[in-house]
């Protein structure tokens, strides 16, 4: 076996491992199986399309291979999504969620939904879990960091978004409690990223408007809210719900999203101009 072949096999094995790490919780979540046939068919397609765009985003920040053209990036992202579908099929067969009595529509819906987190994990494995991530330790630009934060928000929030608990938390909360939750989310993520001294990130920020601790925390929280709302819509939680209930669920889910975004921003480092926060 040539070196190139061995490299490719290793990359795909790593991608499959990352896919399982992120995808397993949702493979064991009943609400996702049910979503496979309850969600309208076009929504599953829209979600797959959004997932492809996000995988493209992850892969463009750091992916399987270095120095790629946009065409290569798009092709690699097709492989990532395809890998997600194949792994989801094997996992759902092994778990007995797809068998001879499952209708085609049900099976396709489940596969479409379960493939999404697995594809995220697969592209993440190629970025954060490989040695390639090292080259980003020097820090990335604020907008890219916001994107990375959005990716982290998605990964964390995905695990709880389909559950009934979010509905209970969101509907039960009074407006006063929601305001406290918003303030707590902001303070927690501010402390996590800038004052907890994880990974040499503390207190270090550049001169740009988006490089200040308060501005980065605020923009990142806004992205987390958007991610939370997108996920609630994806799992059909916004349908028929009142504005108040939607706001409650979004704020409660955004707590998890914001912590995910904070951790992702910690992982990719802080300096805007790069290379000096070691």
């Amino acid at each position: 076996m040539t070196e190139g072949l061995r490299d490719s096999l290793r990359d795909y094995t790593r991608a499959a491992g990352g896919g399982l790490m992120v995808g397993l919780p949702l493979l064991y979540t009943m609400e996702v199986w049910l979503g496979g046939f309850i969600l309208p068919w076009w929504k599953i397609l829209v979600l797959l399309g959004i997932a492809y765009a996000i995988v493209l985003g992850y892969n463009s920040i750091a992916g399987f291979r270095r120095e790629r053209s946009i065409a290569q990036l798009m092709v690699d992202s097709v492989s990532t999504l395809g890998l997600g579908i194949v792994i989801a099929l094997v996992a759902l067969l092994v778990l007995g969620r797809i068998d001879s009595t499952t209708s085609l529509r049900d099976a396709a819906g489940k596969l479409g939904l379960e493939a999404i987190p697995i594809a995220f994990g697969a592209s993440l494995a190629a970025t954060q879990l490989s040695g390639n991530a090292v080259e980003h330790r020097g820090g990335i630009r604020p907008l890219a960091r916001l994107l990375v934060g959005g990716g982290g928000a998605l990964l964390f929030a995905l695990n709880v978004a389909p559950t009934e608990e979010i509905v209970v938390l969101g509907v039960d909360a009074s407006p006063a409690l929601l305001l406290i939750v918003v303030a707590t989310s902001l303070l927690t993520t501010l402390a996590l990223v800038f004052y907890a001294d994880f990974g040499g990130r503390s207190h270090q920020h550049g001169d740009g408007l988006l490089d200040q601790p308060w501005s980065e925390t605020a923009t990142s929280y806004a992205v987390s809210l958007a991610v939370a709302l997108l996920l609630l819509w994806a799992f059909g939680r916004t349908e028929g719900a009142s504005i108040g209930a939607i706001a409650g669920m979004t704020v409660m889910l955004a707590v998890v999203a914001a912590v995910g975004a904070a951790i992702a921003r910690l992982l990719v480092g802080g300096q805007a101009e790069g290379g000096e926060d070691q």
């Binding site: 040539t2 190139g4 072949l5 490719s8 096999l9 795909y12 049910l34 046939f37 309850i38 309208p40 068919w41 076009w42 599953i44 397609l45 797959l48 053209s69 065409a71 290569q72 092709v75 097709v78 492989s79 990532t80 999504l81 395809g82 890998l83 579908i85 194949v86 099929l89 009595t101 499952t102 209708s103 085609l104 529509r105 049900d106 396709a108 819906g109 596969l111 479409g112 493939a115």
Partner: protein
């Protein structure tokens, strides 16, 4: 764009997987015209005595193209001179699937057992 054999295999398998999945979702989606249509088939031949009475297995199917939630069904029969009703709820009944259930009565019914759909929720 230089790729080795493994990469070609993964890429072609991926394109295949995505194409088939999207095609199935679109085809099934566009064919989704009939609303949920639960049906009940009683299996009188398999009925048996249980510790707490008479057990009558049945199959509930959904012949429609859309799923039904919280499907409530009931079976009525004359037992010991009075009418008895056995009610069941099925949480989820996806399109094109079958669910095995069992009705129960306090004793073996006299005459015919009649099953009917009480109602369901549309997702």
């Amino acid at each position: 764009m230089k790729r080795n054999v493994v990469e070609w295999i993964v890429l072609l398998a991926s394109i295949g997987a995505i194409a088939i999945l999207v095609a199935v979702i679109v085809a099934e989606g566009l064919g989704e015209s009939r609303p949920a249509d639960p049906s009940i088939e009683l299996h009188a031949a398999d009925a048996r005595h249980g510790a707490l009475g008479w057990i009558l297995p049945a199959t509930v199917a959904n012949a429609g193209d859309e799923a039904a939630e919280a499907v409530v069904i009931e079976a009525r029969a004359m037992v010991g001179g009075g009418e008895e009703t056995s009610e069941l709820e099925i949480d989820y009944l996806p399109a094109g699937t079958e669910v095995e259930v069992s009705f129960a009565f306090s004793a073996q019914p006299e005459g015919e057992v009649v099953a009917r759909l009480v109602g369901f929720r549309t997702p």
